[in-house]
């Protein structure tokens, strides 16, 4: 590995910051800053697009994989700050489905890194454990190989009892894929349940229109034992009103949300789609940060971020992203949120004044200008 000027400066900086008094001071400082941040409004859900690892590696003449490793170090630091400051959910864009188009060598290296880092992160006593965070992998499982899947499952299993915070790792993920699979599962719910496997043979040749019959009648019955299935299926076919007995299976998805099996078409709303996304039970996305100065969402959190989310594009590579980049963003967000809350409160007060009809003629003009500020 070529040791460039940047690399040596990195080393000296590390050596310097590992000196006991410096370390003590910086720890104290960080603690004070984070303690202070906790006193103000803090985003509940933050998402990161960790872009620029490769470009950073190229710029500083190190290997690409090394760039990714440095990126992971940056991530660990940022995660620590987030959880300490009181962020409940952090979502990171680790690997896009589009990234499979990169060279096989790099994809393999990335998978290896993912494997190692996942087990490292979820280890007992490491970062996630310390802050009571559980890890969850959002994405298209079928695209990764078994080894990595095992590592994923192990990591989720190890941390599943933590309940103070969540780390969402988007790994092979694209937002369009997410929305598509949400629509798929809604379609699967709304369209009549293809009869159970064992019924299939009996039904298949008899009457294909069974699908039309079920949705109207299903609401009549909720709790029939699956044992009566075969008989009931035949009643459906014969068209009797007691179709009842396709039991309404309830299933609980990965997010722990209970779904009725059959959905009324009229019940489908934005909420339904939101509930079928990977991020179903997370608080709304407050802040999305993308590094490397590229001003695009790149198929990340499209549904979650297109309304009230504050999107910040930061002009530095991900491995360089640290407290000093992150803190101003958090502070700016806090200021904005504070202003917003104040406005809401004023609005309510004004409404109250108008309705209560007391203080006639008093127009809070001096407050209207605050609305425009920033």
């Amino acid at each position: 590995m070529s040791s460039s000027g940047l690399r040596t400066s990195l080393r000296t900086r590390r050596w310097f910051s590992s000196l006991p008094p410096i370390e003590w001071l910086s720890l104290r400082l960080q603690e004070a800053l984070i303690g202070a941040l906790r006193q103000g409004p803090i985003p509940q859900h933050v998402a990161f697009v960790m872009d620029g690892n490769r470009r950073f590696a190229r710029q500083s003449h190190i290997e690409t994989t090394e760039g990714h490793n440095l990126g992971f170090e940056a991530l660990a630091k940022i995660l620590e700050i987030c959880y300490k400051a009181g962020v409940k959910v952090v979502t990171i864009y680790a690997f896009s489905i589009e990234n499979f188009k990169r060279s096989k060598y790099e994809v393999d290296a990335l998978m290896d890194i993912a494997k190692i880092k996942l087990s490292q992160l979820s280890q007992h006593g490491d970062l996630l454990d310390r802050y009571g965070a559980k890890i969850r992998i959002l994405g298209h499982r079928s695209l990764v190989n078994q080894e990595v899947l095992d590592a994923i499952d192990r990591a989720t299993e190890l941390t599943k009892h933590n309940n103070k915070a969540i780390l969402n790792v988007c790994f092979p993920y694209t937002s369009r894929d997410e929305i598509t699979s949400a629509i798929q599962s809604i379609v699967a719910l709304a369209a009549p349940p293809r009869p159970h496997r064992q019924n299939l043979e009996t039904l298949a040749e008899e009457k294909p229109e069974i699908s039309d019959a079920i949705p109207e009648n299903i609401s009549q019955s909720r709790s029939e034992s699956p044992a009566s299935n075969t008989t009931s299926a035949s009643t459906v076919v014969s068209g009797s009103p007691h179709t009842s007995s396709v039991p309404l299976r309830e299933h609980i998805d990965f997010a722990g949300v209970r779904h009725r099996d059959i959905l009324d078409l009229e019940d489908i709303s934005e909420q339904t789609v939101t509930e079928h996304l990977f991020t179903a039970d997370n608080p709304p996305l407050d802040l999305l940060i993308r590094t490397s100065g590229v001003e695009r969402l790149s198929d990340f959190m499209l549904w979650q971020a297109h309304q009230d989310t504050d999107i910040e594009f930061v002009d530095c590579m991900w491995p360089e992203f640290d407290v000093w980049h992150f803190l101003p963003i958090l502070l700016g967000w806090g200021l904005k949120r504070k202003r917003f809350l104040r406005e809401v409160k004023l609005e309510e007060e004004r409404k109250y004044n108008r309705n209560g009809n007391w203080m006639k003629g008093w127009e809070p003009e001096e407050y209207t200008h605050t609305k425009k500020a920033l």
Partner: protein, 319 residues
């Protein structure tokens, strides 16, 4: 086992603690620091034990936070002043003077131009609809001059959709004032509504699109359109015309494109920060999003800088 017997006495007395895992854990525990010493999530237990100290600490933190907010606020103000002057400077340097030739000269050196530009406009009570339509007319003229064939205008509430013919009239008047008699042909449309050309495309051969197409979209073309599509797909599935596996990203893409707008190349915000306000989510996947920090006005310089940014072209300060 004879070696055991020879072992020093200490091992024999502590034998139980070394062999039984539970006893070992209990033994080791005495020497470990207490767990919640540096756990940030347990200030509660501490507050019960040392109320005054916690009170002082929280006061201290609040003070720090206040200082931090003041610094940030000062920084924002300074940045605002800086950007304000910069934006003014740019808008003086680059002004179109209602001459398409000047705009063409400005964009001539760009390697690539977006084929579909999208803008987000906000309805403001003071300006009303007139201001909104005026902005649309101006931006349309810039697009027509630069040679961008498609412009979509997002306005959250959908007010613009009610004024399609008015917008067409005002925009073509504005185009006239830019281009003179040979103004570009214009079509104004909105999803689910008939398009409006007002005779602009009469001379055009069949199937040819006009020089500029302006599409009005609103928040109902965002999530709602996806929900509607979902309903339609469900209906089809219930009728047995398709299954869950037929739902693919390509299908949704094609449907949404025909229902609303295709994916824009460049999205220009005239707001000081990036907030999408419900802009169609499916369509902004790879769209370049441009905004100028601390800018609050719809101006030609924003448009031009967005185009320069899109083409990765440096913009010169001193013209």
């Amino acid at each position: 086992m004879s070696t055991r017997a020879v072992a020093p006495p200490i091992a024999t007395t502590r034998k139980k603690e070394f062999e039984d895992p539970k006893a070992r854990a209990a033994y080791v525990k005495k020497f470990l620091p207490t767990d919640d010493a540096d756990d940030p999530s347990t200030p509660r237990t501490r507050s019960r034990s040392r109320p005054i100290r916690t009170f002082v600490k929280i006061g201290f933190y609040k003070l720090i936070l206040w200082v931090l907010y003041s610094i940030t606020s000062l920084y924002f103000r300074a940045r605002f002043v800086y950007n304000f002057i910069l934006n003014r400077w740019f808008s003086v340097l680059y002004y179109h003077h209602k001459t398409p030739e000047l705009i063409q000269k400005d964009v001539k050196q760009l390697d690539r131009l977006p084929q579909h530009v999208s803008v987000i406009l906000e309805f403001e009570k003071e300006g009303g609809v007139e201001q909104l339509i005026d902005h649309v007319a101006e931006i349309s003229c810039w697009c027509a001059s630069a040679g961008i064939p498609t412009l979509s205008v997002y306005e959250q509430t959908g007010t613009l959709k009610k004024y399609i013919s008015t917008s067409h009239r005002i925009t073509s008047q504005r185009l006239h004032s830019y281009f003179g008699k040979k103004r570009p042909t214009l079509r104004v449309l909105a999803p689910h509504l008939p398009s409006y050309t007002n005779g602009d495309t009469e001379d055009l051969p069949e199937g040819e699109s006009p020089d500029l197409e302006v599409i009005f979209i609103s928040s109902e073309d965002g999530r709602e359109s996806i929900v509607d599509l979902t309903k339609t797909l469900c209906e089809m599935a219930i009728r047995g015309k398709m299954t869950k596996d037929d739902v693919t990203a390509e299908l949704i893409e094609a449907e949404l494109e025909s229902l609303t707008i295709p994916e824009p190349d460049l999205l220009i915000l005239f707001s000081p920060s990036v907030k999408l306000l419900g802009y169609p989510p499916w369509q902004i996947r790879l769209t370049e999003i441009f905004h100028l920090p601390d800018n609050d006005a719809v101006g030609y310089q924003v448009f031009l800088r967005a185009l320069y940014n899109y083409a990765k072209c440096e913009m010169r300060f001193g013209r």
